[in-house]
Amino acid sequence: MSVHELAAPFLDGAREGRLMVQRCAGCGHAQLPPAMTCPCGRAELEWVESSGRGTVLAVSVVHRAPTEEHAARAPYAYAAVRLEEGAQMITNVVGVDPSDVTVGMDVEAVFEREDAAGQPWPDFRPVAAVSPHHGKDQA
């Protein structure tokens, strides 16, 4: 069976619960999914761990799923997220009603789900809101 070598660092990292991003050693541009070259024209590409934090660029609540596997989860939030490092990825936003996912929402990566072959993939969940300060009289 052919191996997707370009994806290996991402997939290996996912198995360890780490979100890995490809980055150009020349210009610092981060990209996901990985490619053989950087837009700057060089091919000195390395992998770094992402903070896992990002922002939702666009989201769709999908009702008509492509397979039985996904139909069981429908409706689900299919989204494009931009990571802090600059790379973008397609993902699902979980841990919230899909209809409540908004463009601009701050999210963070979670590894909760595996595909049919047992490979973990990162979903994203809303970053927990900071608790409001409780004591009115505290300095």
Binding site: H4, A7, L32, P33, L57, A58, V59, S60, V61, V62, H63, R64, A65, P66, T67, H70, R73, A74, P75, Y76, Y78, A79, A80, Q88, M89, I90, T91, N92, S99, T102, V103, G104, D115, Q119, W121
Partner: protein, 383 residues
């Protein structure tokens, strides 16, 4: 543009409900119609370009078509650019002519998607097969679908500019009004804004009536640079293309079709024309959002102004921007080449319905891979 290439013949297969035919036979019917329309016989054509069908797949569709026609030309090739293949093939055809490889190029697209889905409904449900040629390693784990990809474009545009579902729905209302007038259209009943808004959600904000038809289809056109051929053939004024990639994660900005911008700029530059001089627009309407982003990117209105443009501009034959007078993919057919054949008929003044008065410049905007792969074709009438 100094090309002497002209589109001298067009043909579309007649689709009849209940009569299920193989796609390659629809392609052959359209091919023969286009050749006859050009005043030619097959023996006069020396090159054939065929779009690689998506559902009725064949790794050498150009030769499969030849077998069905009972003819082979000196030059034959399949090309693949998804739904934008007939648009892209104008560039390929004119290049063959300019290089002296051929004098007359027959360009064909066909597929039998509706028949396939009907026959496989139990197995596939409402979806066309997503495996094989449509597999996307980085998107499929997340339940990617065609509509979901375009829904991301709509989501970003709505978030940034306040565009509404009702704005988008106007594209369908206009398309269905046009299709209602057009003999041979797959859907011939008008719909209201409410019909679109209340249709079943597919990938929000896109609902069923935001989505194009699934059809069986066959279309063809002939490009010639033989001076005596079909006097009054439609001129090819400008061509452009630009590509951002295949998968939606290659998108630079989800609420903008930058590749359409660049393709259109290139075509207008070659033609020495501006968007304001377009008399009729044939814009690929895979979804309502495809049209909205396309209209902005072509330059009919500014970025973010698409919603207002759709609210304020008549899209019918006498409106501010006549758009898809045949009904497009939202009403006429989920096929591809009909945007080109309709443009030619409009410029000749022979459209069976929705004729734009005195149409002299037609813009055909192909989009594939979402809105990431763009081909712009500017055509001029010689009446």
């Amino acid at each position: 543009m100094t090309s002497t290439a002209r589109i001298t013949g067009v043909g579309d297969a007649r689709i009849e409900k209940g009569r299920l035919r193989r796609g390659v036979e629809l392609g052959a019917e359209a091919a023969l119609a286009a050749v006859a329309d050009a005043g030619l016989a097959l023996a006069d054509v020396d090159a054939l370009l065929v779009e690689s069908p998506d559902v009725e797949q064949h790794h050498m569709a150009h030769l499969a078509l030849c077998d069905t026609l009972g003819w082979t030309p000196p030059f034959a090739l399949s090309t693949g650019a998804g739904g934008s293949t007939p648009f892209a093939n104008v560039t390929v055809a004119t290049s063959l002519l300019a290089a002296g490889v051929a004098e007359r190029v027959l360009v064909v697209d066909y597929d039998a998607r509706r028949s396939f889905r009907k026959a496989n409904r139990e197995r596939l449900g409402a979806n066309l097969p997503r495996g094989g040629g449509h597999a996307s390693f980085w998107e499929d784990p997340y339940g990617a679908t065609g509509p979901a990809k375009f829904a991301l474009n709509a989501s970003a545009h709505m978030a940034r500019y306040g565009t509404t579902r009702a704005d988008l729905a106007r594209v369908t209302v206009a398309a269905r009004a046009a299709g209602a007038q057009r003999p041979g259209a797959q859907l011939r009943e008008p719909v209201t804004l409410d019909d679109v808004l209340s249709s079943e959600p597919i990938a929000e904000p896109l609902h069923k009536l935001d989505c194009c038809l699934i059809s069986d289809f066959g279309s063809a056109y002939v490009v010639s640079n033989v001076p005596g051929d079909a006097p009054g053939g439609v001129e090819i004024l400008g061509l452009g293309q630009h590509h951002g990639g295949y998968a939606v994660y290659r998108t630079e900005e989800y609420g903008r079709a930058v590749d359409v911008e660049r393709a259109a700029q290139q075509a207008f530059g070659q033609a020495g024309l501006s968007p304001g001089e377009v008399d009729v627009a044939l814009v690929y309407d895979s979804f309502t959002i495809t049209v909205l982003l396309g209209l902005e990117a072509i330059g009919f209105c500014g970025p973010g102004e698409g919603g207002a443009f759709l609210r304020e501009t008549g899209l019918g034959p006498s409106g501010g921007l006549p758009l898809n007078p045949h009904g497009g993919q939202l009403s006429y057919s989920g096929g591809h080449g009909h945007f080109v054949t309709e443009a030619v008929r409009q410029l000749r003044g022979t459209a069976p319905s929705g004729q734009v008065p005195d149409a002299e410049v037609a813009l055909c905007q192909g989009m594939a891979a979402g809105v990431l792969s763009a081909y712009t074709v500017l055509l001029g009438g010689t009446r």
